[in-house]
């Protein structure tokens, strides 16, 4: 025994240290629960993320589902691995794998399946198309340097062809459109009429290969393509130095794919949430009405959706998720085509007094 006293001593120190770690390192996370009053189905694959604006809490968001709450980006590496595998089955990997190999790529989801364009090497532009995510059609456009050395705004399909809006040579005000012909593997470019606004991006075109819950499945024959519009504004710093910055413009803007120009549908109105799906562009206004724009005729219709106060809105696959923060937790409603289909609430269990003082943000995924 005397001969191993050192081992025992150090062992004791380590054990005590581990105990301190176990006590001090554990976080007392508040448990949240999602209570659904009607129609559980619309909440089945949803996550309500609770984010607190507080220095006193560990830097975590809490993901609340029907099964309870878990802190996000937490837990063991092993569990993260299993979660990833559960979300990405073998079936959906071919297209994403092809997409990951492109240096600079955008992706849209259409009624004809997923599509992406991206850069390969220095002068080749690649177009990927996949109907089911398994089989991928690859078309390469050589000598596309002109487009590759430009700032991309986004792409869309019109008249059976893929079109890309971009800033020629990264010049902010020099917007062009490129039209790709897959059969001849060639493309033509053309300057567009930006109608004094700048295109910030095409709605629905995502930069990441990672799927987004907010991406709608869009039709491929829309004449008007929803865009985010921006304007250059000159700002002054405290030192008196002036600089220009691109600022998002409020309102709804579309790009006319036939006439190649930007069209303002509705300017300087605050919108709570928008959706581009099929042939429609939808938005919830701050008074709770839903505006629906037909993307072939620009015909507008409105209908009353939310009665009373309007909180934050998230469109997920044409369902409108409405979150209205309350003193304790939040009230949640789901609307489908203007009709309320589900009502639920989310709230912290236990020490609600502590959490109610802090600003809490809710996001639906």
């Amino acid at each position: 025994m005397k001969r191993i006293v050192n081992v025992v001593a150090l062992g004791v120190i380590i054990t005590v240290g581990l105990a301190t770690y176990a006590v001090s390192g554990t976080e007392k996370e508040t448990d949240w629960s999602l209570q659904v009053e009607s129609n559980k189905k619309v909440w089945e694959n949803r996550i309500v993320q609770v984010a607190k604006d507080s220095m006193d809490q560990p830097y975590t968001h809490i993901n609340v589902t029907l099964n309870g709450s878990t802190p996000s980006n937490k837990g063991s590496y092993f569990k993260q691995l299993l979660d990833f595998q559960a979300n990405f089955g073998e079936d959906s990997r071919s297209f994403k794998r092809a997409l990951k190999q492109l240096d600079y790529a955008q992706r849209i989801w259409t009624t004809d399946g997923e599509m992406a364009i991206g850069q390969k090497d220095r002068d080749t532009l690649v177009l990927l198309k996949s109907k089911d995510g398994k089989e991928v059609d690859v078309t390469e456009f050589k000598q596309a340097r002109e487009i590759l050395e430009s700032g991309w705004k986004g792409f869309y399909v019109y008249d059976g062809k893929v079109h890309l809006l971009y800033d020629q040579n990264y010049e902010t005000t020099n917007h062009h459109v490129a039209t790709f012909d897959e059969s001849t593997k060639t493309f033509v470019t053309q300057k567009i009429d930006r109608s004094k606004t700048l295109i910030g991006g095409v709605v629905g075109a995502e930069w990441s290969w990672y799927p987004s819950a907010y991406q709608g499945q869009v039709a491929t024959d829309n004449r008007y393509i929803p865009i985010r519009a921006t304007a250059l504004e000159t700002l002054q710093e405290d030192t008196g130095e002036e600089y220009t910055s691109e600022m998002d413009l409020p309102g709804l803007f579309v790009y006319d794919a036939k006439e190649n120009k930007v069209v303002t549908v509705n300017q300087s109105e605050e919108l709570k949430g928008t959706l581009f799906k099929d042939q429609e562009y939808r938005a919830i206004r701050s008074d709770g009405t839903e505006l629906i724009i037909d993307l072939n005729s620009l015909e507008q219709t409105t209908r009353q959706v939310i009665q009373g106060a309007v909180g934050s809105i998230t469109y997920i696959d044409q369902l409108v998720y409405h979150v209205l923060p309350k003193k304790e937790g939040a009230m949640l409603e789901v609307y489908d085509e203007g009709e309320m289909v589900s009502r639920a609430s989310i709230k912290a269990e236990g020490d609600s007094g502590q959490t109610s003082n802090q600003p809490v943000h809710y996001y639906v995924y």
Binding site: V5, S24, M55, D56, Q57, F84, F88
Partner: protein
Amino acid sequence: MNVLKLISWELDRVKKSYLILVGILLLLQFGWLGAFLWRQNATYEEMRLEGMTGYTVSFINYIGSTIFTLSVGVAIVAMIFFSVWIWYRDFQGRGMFMMRLLTIPTGRMELFVAKFVTVMMLILGLFAIQWMALFLQYQLFSAWLNAKMIPLQGSFERAIQFDYLAMMYPESGFNFLVHQVLIAFVVLALFTFVLVERGLWQRTLWSPFLAICVVSGLIALPTFLIIYFDRYLFMDEQIGLFGLALIGMVFGLTLLSRRFLSKKMSV
């Protein structure tokens, strides 16, 4: 039992320097904590006299400070140095203690295991002391600020998620194990370097250089493989590849160490 005795003996030899290291680290941290709080106090008083409000202090300010980071750095460097020194010290002197060690009947690999466990225990010991010290430091920190009525911002839980400290405070037992395995891998690589170098030192002047080439080559090859395949693979596949590469490297390093220790090394 033999291994246990060997470990105890190794620990006994290093006890004094280890205690000195721990002493220096604690002195550095607690001394700096005192100075830090003193300075905060002075700044707060100054601000208060000038009528400015909204001054808050966070534990992250202390953890992120140069001197605290330096103390952690000192510990890391000391452990890296020790992983190498634990072998080289036996080659010191005219009699060369290694001669006796290599001839003990328990076998040379037991010597290897004993030294390895010793290093890992000492590293874990430093972790343990830091866990306790940091917890104590936070108690002192919050008590002092409360006494001086300086607004304290942020909790201990939030502070320990700071940057590299998250390595010390993993979120699950599994993650803790993964971190320890990565540390063990570094120690193994250092051991292999020493054994290759000592296996060749009597034959060529270039033995340190050769040893570095062998060990870094063994690590670089799978690393390049991982980097090359990175863009073709998804997260789970990447982790799988990384795991395989790690197992391969551990296997390779252990075999290499074993070969040099049992066959090539002479004194």
